[in-house]
Subunit: 209 residues, 2 copies
DNA sequence: TGTAAAATGTTGCAAATGCAACATAATTAT
DNA sequence: ATAATTATGTTGCATTTGCAACATTTTACA
């Protein structure tokens, strides 16, 4: 994943963060951080740890909308996190740097010689996020658990360029990502194993086709 | 939806398009335009008509990934359109302006006084697209046809600020958007009508709760 | 190291859904 | 105006899935 400050020296990065009037907050595990944010239009950059954006469904289903790891971005201008049902929880101890969205296009920042790089990085990140959303949509539009699993495995396999890869999720999280019942998913995985399509050892998946 | 050239005079817009080395192509209805694009990293701006990004599933299901209307953006850097299964079809006669992604951050453009506005607009559009993707993900993660329908109706209702609204889709397209069987969807709509939750006249929906 | 908590695995059953195979209505093109 | 195409509506049936209620394994932590 693209780093927002890639190709910017740490000295210039500091300068930039000052110009952007950034602030950094450290959170412990399991905190709902949105209740702590009182900025208007913000971009949050995860510099340490991991966040989960979760939709708390009225049915009691917790839908994992997004997992934001190191260098990841989030913000109200680009997600559903304005929704009341939405919460942003620290999966582990995490550190977040906030900048005001408006500051990004302030003249004094544009004048700096590293501004182009910064904007390029930001655009790249947004593009990556769109791609990742599209990937998830492509998976979610599959109509059966089997097809969802196979589509997701295909994606991981393509990304790694190998028929063997490691799941970045627990099986509970995977079921949430695919938005299917965990038990039904386990059952389907069993069928796929029995029919010789896949082999699973721990979190390691082998595609046998 | 945000216009990429909002708050830029038509004179400056022309200047900008020249600096960006843009080119404009006009398409007739039903053309797969991706096969015509030989730019490396491009942004396409729909200035007239409408495009559909469609995933051609191996099961024969055509999944509508995205519909891009006037002022809409698309590009390989921000979507799944690199996928072989993906095609981009003109829904009607359409006009598309292409710019090279790399040109956006060329020095001679950054120097112009309308550059900030341009970048602001671009960032806003990408944010809007992310929001719209998140909305669709939120809907697709609902586990039943009924919940998908109600979630989608809630969204349309919130956007319009009214319990009465018009569907922007045919029912076939709606079923594709929700990724459910059209017949099963019609059946569920019938149940919702019978149970007094909704009323539907043509494409007009009335929420009765 | 022991214990609580979390993750994983299993299975019967009822309900929801996709599918197929239609009929009918509405729209578009000639 | 009429034919052709597309959109919408209906329903039986087999299959898939969610749900519930468990057992077992693994991990976290006090």
């Amino acid at each position: 994943m693209q780093d927002l400050f890639e190709n910017i020296s740490s000295k210039n990065k500091e300068k930039l963060l000052k110009l952007l009037r950034s602030s950094t907050i450290t959170y412990t595990k399991g905190v709902n951080i949105l209740s702590n944010v009182n900025r208007d239009n913000f971009i949050g950059i995860v510099t340490e740890g991991c966040l989960q954006i979760i939709i708390n469904d009225y049915n009691g289903n917790n839908i994992l909308l997004e997992e934001i790891g190191e260098n990841g971005l989030f913000g109200n201008f680009m997600s559903a996190i304005n929704s009341e049902e939405c919460s942003c929880i620290t999966k582990e101890k995490a550190k977040v740097t906030y900048i005001d969205y408006e500051n990004i296009t302030k003249p004094n920042i544009i004048k700096t010689d590293f501004y182009i790089i910064f904007i390029k990085n930001l655009l790249k990140i947004l593009g990556e996020q769109l791609t990742s959303k599209n990937e998830r949509i492509e998976i979610l539009t599959k109509r059966s658990i089997r097809d969802k699993l196979l589509e997701y495995f295909k994606l991981l396999s393509q990304k790694k360029g190998s028929k063997t890869f490691t799941l970045p999720f627990t099986f509970i999280e995977l079921a949430n990502y695919l938005s299917v019942d965990r038990c039904a998913m386990t059952r389907e995985l069993k069928y796929l194993k029995n029919e010789g399509f896949i082999k699973i050892v721990g979190k390691k998946v082998y595609l046998l086709y």
